[in-house]
């Protein structure tokens, strides 16, 4: 009977998630807010610095072990915040790109497709890097590689820039900085 109770609770929770997803989808369709304004600024240079293995090696050499571990944890927390923001921005750009996919202009639609694919790749990489960051937080001697997110981020920026240009040819470039 315990097994039955566990399965009933699992089924009830699953049902809530599925119905929640359905409600969220219908709200997204009906509200139609300006998603572009949801993009948050992100300092790429600070992100690069935090993800830099050489910087970490330098701190390891210079600081006492206990101090290094404390600093490293703080850096990892900051890095995680950057990655989460990058992931959220990528999610916003997925929606922006999907709206632009319906464009009658083939060049805009093509740029939108590229933007969506790169944003999805970044979102996937952000999730993977977040897992690595949390592992690194738990295991102080584990290595961390944030390069894939940085590379994805750069590619995404180029795609978003191209889409911005195609949508507004009169304006030299209309694109956000994250």
């Amino acid at each position: 009977m315990t097994l039955a109770i566990v399965l009933v609770i699992t089924a009830a929770l699953s049902l809530i998630v599925i119905l929640g997803a359905a409600v969220t989808r219908s709200l997204q369709i009906s509200v139609g807010t300006s998603v572009g304004s949801q993009i948050q600024p992100l300092d790429v240079e600070a992100f690069r610095n935090l993800a830099d293995a050489a910087e970490e090696a330098y701190l390891r050499r210079r600081l006492p072990t206990s101090e290094f571990h404390r600093v490293r944890r703080l850096r990892l927390r900051a890095l995680a915040a950057y990655v989460r923001t990058a992931g959220r921005n990528a999610a916003v750009l997925v929606r922006v790109g999907q709206i632009a996919l319906a464009s009658s202009d083939p060049a805009t639609a093509q740029a939108a497709e590229q933007l969506v694919n790169q944003a999805l790749l970044l979102r996937r990489n952000a999730a993977l890097v977040l897992v690595r960051i949390y592992v690194a937080m738990a295991l102080p001697h584990a290595n961390l590689a944030g390069g894939s997110v940085l590379e994805g981020y750069n590619q995404l920026s180029r795609a978003a820039m191209l889409l911005g240009r195609l949508q507004n040819p009169a304006v030299p470039v209309r694109i956000s900085i994250w």
Binding site: L3, A4, T10, S14, I99, S157, A160, S176
Partner: protein, 256 residues
């Protein structure tokens, strides 16, 4: 009212299956069966399954054992068709995006394997009534199949929400219906397969399953046949902000 062969029982077994056959016919007529090929096969299978099992249940000369043999056999076939349908939904949701097409395939393979092992392990723990072994086996199979379906559909909804993927209306409706059906069925079959319930409670649970099927079929009519409202979706202009700085950063990174 909740007894087998009551008017409500007949209605809830007949109506959803006839409606599903009607929906399959309409999909064919509207030439939508190519777009929803796996669902089209599923709908016809459900209708045919009913057309065989319903008379078998009513004709008193057919032994109960034969009914349960056919029921268990058709359940096996239904499991395969449902898994193909879910695989088709995964392909439709993830396949439109080059960046995620492979991830979608991996998700369904690995999650399917893990869920199959879990569902089998749970199924083997369920008590089997030796007197009605085939009935117990059928309930355990239902429980196993619905655990897999609920797990896969849940994974699909969570991953699609995480990646903010756009669903095609029909595919969303099919997945939603399968998910709701599987969750309700999983809960009821788990109780039926694992708990020693009185006959009256078992009858109510069976009717809950049948009523859920009815609601889901109505939802499928809505999602597959009623066109979506056209919303004026303008192209977004991306916000202007610190462009010069961003360009400098990009150039610096590209030159590394």
């Amino acid at each position: 009212m909740f007894q087998p062969h009551s008017i409500l029982w007949h209605y809830l077994w007949v109506a959803p299956n006839l409606l599903l056959a009607l929906l399959a016919g309409l999909l064919w007529k509207l030439d939508l069966h190519r777009e929803f090929r796996a669902f089209f096969v599923y709908a016809w299978f459900q209708a045919i399954q009913w057309a065989v099992l319903y008379p078998m249940d009513l004709i008193s000369s057919i032994p109960a054992l034969d009914f349960w043999r056919v029921c268990t056999g058709s359940l096996l076939l239904e499991s395969i068709i449902v898994l193909v349908l879910i695989s088709d939904i995964f392909a439709s949701v993830f396949g439109s995006y080059a960046a995620l097409a492979q991830l979608g395939k991996n998700l369904i393979r690995w999650a399917g394997a893990v869920l199959l092992v879990t569902a089998t392990a749970i199924g083997t723990r369920a008590p089997v009534n030796e007197q009605v072994r085939l009935v117990s086996a059928s309930h355990i199979m239902e429980e196993t199949m619905n655990l897999m379906v609920a797990g896969l559909i849940l994974l699909l909804f969570i991953s699609a929400a995480y990646f903010r993927l756009a669903w095609k209306r029909g595919i969303f409706g099919i997945a939603l219906g399968l998910g709701v059906n599987a969750c309700i069925y999983l809960a009821t079959w788990a109780i039926l397969a694992n708990g020693g319930l009185p006959e009256s409670a078992r009858n109510v649970l069976n009717l809950v399953n049948m009523a859920t099927s009815h609601v889901v079929v109505m939802a499928w009519f809505y999602y597959l046949l009623v066109p979506a409202k056209l919303t004026a979706r303008h192209l977004e202009t991306l916000p202007e902000n610190n462009l010069a700085l961003w360009n400098r950063e990009l150039e610096r990174l590209l030159q590394q």
